[in-house]
């Protein structure tokens, strides 16, 4: 993809580059407004808006993927839940393109509104996600002693196993390769075990950040739509989320399943949004010649 000068904006292209690079490099994505707050007549160029939006959507999806991965590691329930999670996303009712042709055939406005609708649909679930995960963490704090012991035992078992494997590996070559495989696996699992030691925290922190970024993206999308549609807005109702009841069930399994479903759907929808935005950007800004 060649970076061409923006046909529409031109001048602030360098600003866009700086912004994009800073957003990509920094985890804490901070918006760098071209227009200071309160400026009335200042209009951020569309290209810059899209760049920001793409950066946000990309980051959102990465956060969601990591959260999903951590959740699976901690609870290792994917195989069990996936069967029950099919077709369980609350946003499924919103018709979205399912492949490239459908995405390319959808006009800009539709696609933009679709994105906006999906984003809005996630406001509430995300809010509850944060609340629920926080509650779960507090609940798990009481069990922290047990959990820590378990984790430590797990670590010791892993390290002992690693040491034994190392000793054995010194004798034969096969053992060496085996050791490498084992140590690699164990190293990874150790790393993740260490990471997931405070998994509720990690999930919680990520959930909090996702909620923030989602709101930011929503603002950006509304600005984009204002520019593209010149203020004509369709107020389409977001898809309701009905999973709260399941999330608040006393049954842990139900709760976990609800949580899993939520995180699973979040991962997918964030990918959709990211994909659609990139297609739109290339289509609108680069005239389908990224």
């Amino acid at each position: 993809m060649d970076n061409k000068g923006l046909s529409l904006t031109g001048g602030p292209y360098w600003l866009v580059l700086v912004l994009v690079s800073s957003l990509l490099l920094c985890k804490n994505v901070a918006s760098v407004p071209t227009c200071p707050r309160g400026a009335v007549n200042c209009e951020v160029p569309l290209g810059e808006l899209f760049d920001r939006a793409v950066v946000l959507s990309d980051y959102l999806h990465k956060l969601s993927s990591e959260m999903f991965r951590e959740f699976n590691k901690q609870y290792a329930q994917e195989r069990r839940f996936i069967t029950r999670a099919i077709n369980g996303c609350h946003t499924s009712s919103i018709p979205t393109p399912e492949d490239k042709e459908q995405a390319q055939n959808m006009p800009h406005e539709d696609l933009l509104n679709l994105i906006l609708r999906v984003l809005r649909s996630w406001n509430e679930p995300l809010y509850h996600l944060v609340t629920e995960v926080r509650a779960m963490r507090e609940a798990s704090d009481t069990q922290k002693a047990l959990g820590t012991q378990e984790t430590f035992a797990m670590q010791e078992a892993l390290s002992t196993q690693e040491a034994l494997t190392t000793q054995e590996a010194l004798t034969t070559q096969e053992a060496l390769t085996t050791q490498e495989a084992l140590t690699t696996q164990e190293a990874l699992s150790m790393q993740e075990a260490l990471r997931t030691q405070g998994t509720p925290n990690d999930i919680l922190s990520r959930a909090i950040e996702i909620e923030d970024r989602n709101k930011q993206l929503l603002e950006g999308m509304e600005k984009i739509i204002n520019q593209v549609q010149h203020g004509v807005r369709r107020n389409e109702a977001p898809s309701p989320w009905l999973g709260l009841q399941f999330l608040q069930k006393a049954d842990e399994d139900t709760r976990l399943f609800a949580l899993y479903g939520l995180i699973h759907c979040l991962r997918r929808d964030s990918h959709k949004i990211d994909n659609y935005l990139k297609v739109l950007k290339c289509r609108i800004i680069y005239d389908s010649n990224c």
Binding site: N3, I86, D99, K100, E101, H271, V279, L280, S288, C290
Partner: protein
Amino acid sequence: MDLEIDSSSFWLFLGQSPPGKPEISKCRSTEKETFSCWWNPGPDGGLPTNYTLTYNKEGNPFTYECPDYKTSGPNSCYFDKKHTSIWTVYIITVNATNQMGSNTSDPHYVDVTYIVEPDPPINLILEVKQPEDQKPYLWIKWFPPTQVDVRSGWLTLQYEIRLKPEKANEWEVHFAGQQTQFKVLSLYPGKKYLVQVRCKPDHGFWSEWGPEGSIQIPDDSTNTDTTMWIFVAVLSVVVCLIMVWAVAMKGYSMLTCFLPPVPGPKIKGLDIHLLERGKSEELLGALGCQDFPSDCEDLLVELLEVVDSENQQPMQVHLKEHPNPRLKPTPLDPDSDSGQGSCDSPSFLSNNCEGSQESPSIFHIPGGIKEPGNPEGNGAHTWDSRSTSVEGRVPYFCADGPKSSTWPSSQPPNKHNPRSSYHNVADVCKLDPGTAGSSATVLDKTDKCSLTSLETTETGGEEKAAEQRWVGSFHSKTDPDTPWLLPQEDTSVISAKPLDYVEIHKVNKDGALSLFPKQEESGNQTEKAGGLKTRMEYSKVARVMESSILVLVQDPPAPDLALFEEPAEEAPPSLSQNQEEKDLAAFAMTPSNYRLAGLDYLDPTCLKHSFQ
């Protein structure tokens, strides 16, 4: 009885079984538009087994079968674009069927969204660009894989390149972002580089590394510089070799060319080698004292203090360089011989020496008078032996300058004469003209030259220091009572005459000391020059008494034996080396052998010895 044989049991009987359970190993999409799945077939049970893949889609109750078993190879299923839905979970199962039965794999849940792994980038271009005034760099260009749709933004690719010199072990990896070209600046010139590129979709897996591209980095333009440095190196090596060879061949002569040897101190006419060879005649001849006496004005250095026995006053020998008014005649040991001149006050050996025929002039050699008795005896001998006194003879001692380098004071002539540092010559130069008419100067062997060694006579025998002192001081440093100092008190010996100095002109090869005649008219302590010009006289050293007293022969020279008395203590080992030295020893043993008369010359052996 009907035997019913089940067909399956029949086949089981033959060792065949239904197929094992297949397993779906992997599903991949290269462009997020199609995807493929592969499975591992289980054991086939010995029978041809048929595999079928069926799938369900999320939100779709229908079950479909794999549309394409071929495209992706054996045991695969290829889902083309029509059959591929993104953001949709596929539930795939593989069914293995053979004659015996069938077996179904576990369902495999797959969402194409998360299985994207593209092909490697294509059309790798490598080029070394050399802009002016800049270092050359490697420019790498590539293209995304053909099937990936980057233009519409459906996939966003990021690239990574790696390169290494051909022989290196480790790759150098660079992340290139979304650009399709890259510049590498840190290159080793002259090496061949291998380059590879791979890509990754924004939320997918890295592709395999693309095909290797290679490029040769040209050498630096400093090729000529290298050649020049090689030439310089070879040239310098050659030059070094030549120099080494020259030094080896020429050796010392070259060294002397660059570093001429420092000339040692030399006495005009004195040849060290002659000294070593022991031919004193030649030596003295080289010195210029062909005959005794001869005109050796240039050799005149010092005057000796001569004691005139008649006068019983030490005649002071005037030292050329350092007249030392401080010098006072110090008495010798009371038992010491007369004729001890006071070395303190230089004075010419006046005609008193000549006149003092009765007693030989006795020069006390700073070597010190060890045994007062001996010298006395010797002195007596001397006196007695002296039949003739040196009349009109003013003993002169030729001596070189204070350096007395010509008088090698190799050994401390008198170890037992601590005081002597001073004018050994002075002591030597005791003249006792009053005695016996002939004065024989007995030179202590050590002092022999102590005309030089006089100096050497040092405390503890430090020759060099003695020489210094010889120059510097007129009085003994160590002990004012230096026996060698011309005793004043020995009135018997000391002539009444005031001390006079005799200037030593030279010493000829026969061992005769050539002294300048003393000026009668003036007690010229400093005016040796006058004496120099008027005439030169010689005095022969008859013998040296052990107390380092030179007994001079006042009579005309007649070659004769020179007796040397060695102080008992004085037995320099070097003497033993020489037969003459042995003679000396013999002489030492037998003082009775001393003869005063006819001793005209100083035995050169002692000189030689001292030279050594």
